[in-house]
Structure formats: C-alpha cells, structure tokens
Symmetry: C2
Subunit: 203 residues, 2 copies
C-alpha cells in the first residue's frame, strides 16, 4: 500500500515562531518527520512510503519534490488507490494507531486532527479527493458522503495530536519517545506540572 | 458495572472565565454533564451511573454529594470494583468511545486527556487508586505498574478532549451534537475557519 507523507520545507511550523527560531523549527519539523517515518516502518504491513516535499529534504525515505499547493499535490497522488496520506507532524503517532487506520476496508478511513484538520486518511476509492483549506475534516466527510463512499472515522488521540502551536509541545514531552522528544529535551524544553493542565517551559 | 461521574459545582470551569461569566460556566458545565450522561445511557451495557458532586445538582441521574477533594472522593469509590470514572467535561465523548473503555478486561483501562490528565478509566482491581494532582495520566500508569496491574491504554480523541480552555470550545462546535453544542450556539459561539487551525469567536 502506498503511503504519502507531505512535508513543507518552506518555513515549516510558523506557528511555533514564539518559541523556536526558523532554523530550530526546520530541525524540529525534520525530527517529527523522522518519527512519523519510524512509526510507519514499524507497522506490520508492506508499505511503500514516499515523502511528498515542497523541496529536497534529507530523510530516510524516497522523496518526491512537488512545490504545488498541498491540496493539488495530494489530489494527484489519489489518482491511484489505495493511497494513505499521513501528516509529517504527528509526533506521537504509534504503529498501532496507524495500523488501525491502514487496516480499514472502508472506501475512506479518516482521522481528525485537533482543531478540525485531517491528520491521516486512507482512500480506497479514487473518487475521493481532498481540500485542505479550513476545517478539512468536515469537508472531507462531506466529499465522501456526496460520492456515497463508505467511511470509517478513526478515533485516535495519537493521530489527532499534530504539533502546530507551542502548547502542543506538551503532548510530545508527555507521550513522545523518538527524535522529536529528544530534540525538545536537548533544546531545554520541559513540562511544568504546576496546576491544571501541564505547561511547557524552556530553560 | 458502576460508573462514577465527578462534577464540581463550586466555581466550575474557571479557565473559561475569559469567555464565560460564572453563571454561564455553571450552565455550560451542566450541559456537558448531561451530554456525558446521555452518552453513558446509550452504551449497550448495564451501567449503574452515579454523579459524584461537590454539592447538590439537578441532573437526570442519582447524585452522591461529597465535598472532599476529588482524589479522596474517587479513591473511596474504588474500594469496590469494577468501577469506572468518567469526567463530566468530555463533551464529545460518544457511546462507542466509552464502550471501548468499558469493554476492557484489563485491571486498568485508561484514557488520557490532552495535557496529561486522566479523562476516564475502568478499574477492575481494587489496588488501583488515583492521584489527580498534576500530570495524572503518567502517575496513574506508574501506580498500576507498581501494583503489577494489567493496563490497557485506550487511544481515543473523543475521550481525550476535555473542555477546559477557550480553544477547546472549537472541538464542541466541530464534533459535538448534544446539549453543550446547543448551549454554545445559543450563546453566540461559532467557528472561525480563517486559516490554519479553526478558532472560536463569540458574536
């Protein structure tokens, strides 16, 4: 099965600008990508994983460079199915959580991100197409509904957490165990377990 | 099976103070509690659901009033097992997500909240006890590990989303379908699908 991991090399993770410099954001984004690729590698299935990057990137997987907008580039990939698309910032995704999605026999298996995005999906019917603008999860359910596709909504916290905002870093510190966690710890980030929801501080 | 839903009547949801008045926070907290009880009611199992409240509350379930700290009150409930504890602010929890937890045969089935809390668990061994201070999910895994309990970590976005902060309201607007959603819409909240992660605005 083909799995595509889109990755933006052009100013990645701008919403982390409050806590990371541009160079740090790029390093951290690459660490998260490495974690996603590792998790896919540990899935007990024959996967053909490609990184769909906006420019060249040094990573342990075949890279296809496509600098068109995400929606256009992904829709081109969906001409052949089955194809799964897994975002590169799912820093706490596990092989089990990914397997649950990849094992689905539905026309569309789809995992929501926090805030209404689409973090991962597996399309088995080539009439499905994406539109990543705005709250894409609802739009994607609607697209599938209009095409009368069978849909499995995959309910996973580990796939729902994408790392966009500074407060998301807490999830990596709490639940991560790979390159992204190591990178954050090396950069001086730690949990502040004061009261209520934990927070992230940098030394 | 016994299910306990802790509910604080004393200044509930203080972290929503930026967007809701004290009266509104209480109304909204009660709407979320009603949704959690509805979801439990729709689980295909014989459940004995009790609200464990810090003071009397008008709700469609038996209420036990216990004004001691949460950890103490819940630990008293765990003297008899099986007992499940489900937080009252899981406004998008579904019967399916709850069933997945309640169907577990492990000594402890546990679902993390965003930010490291424990949103729901089912204890089948009375040696398990809670400590809700700080990042309780990790602490609870450690308590179970020390007691050599079998553990099932339930990976669910629908159980991970607890509504504490203003940005959490987006999840209710995106995925809710009960009293909490109705309350927010009546109060003028709506999604702002500008760019990136969606935001919540109040008219």
């Amino acid at each position: 099965m083909r799995v595509v991991v889109p990755f933006s090399t052009d100013r990645p993770k701008t919403r982390l600008a409050e806590v990371l410099t541009p160079d740090e954001r790029r390093e951290f984004a690459e660490a998260m990508l490495a974690d996603v690729l590792d998790a896919l590698d540990a899935v007990d299935r024959d996967l053909d994983v490609t990184v769909l990057a906006t420019d060249s990137v040094d990573v342990d997987a075949p890279v296809v460079v496509d600098d068109r907008p995400l929606t256009t580039a992904v829709n081109d990939c969906l001409d052949s199915v089955p194809t799964a698309v897994v975002m590169a910032d799912l820093a706490i995704a596990t092989p089990d959580a990914l397997s649950d999605l990849l094992d689905s026999a539905a026309d569309l298996a789809i995992a929501a991100g926090l805030g209404g995005g689409t973090n991962a999906f597996l399309a088995r019917n080539s009439t499905f197409h994406v539109d990543y603008h705005g709250a894409s999860y609802r739009d994607h359910l609607e697209i599938a509904d209009e095409a009368e596709l069978s849909v499995r909504e995959v309910d996973s916290r580990l796939l729902a957490v994408d790392i966009d905002e500074p407060e998301d870093l807490a999830e990596v510190l709490l639940h991560g165990d790979g390159a992204a966690l190591d990178w954050l710890v090396d950069a001086g980030f730690e949990l502040d377990v004061g009261g209520g929801r934990v927070e992230v501080v940098r030394e």
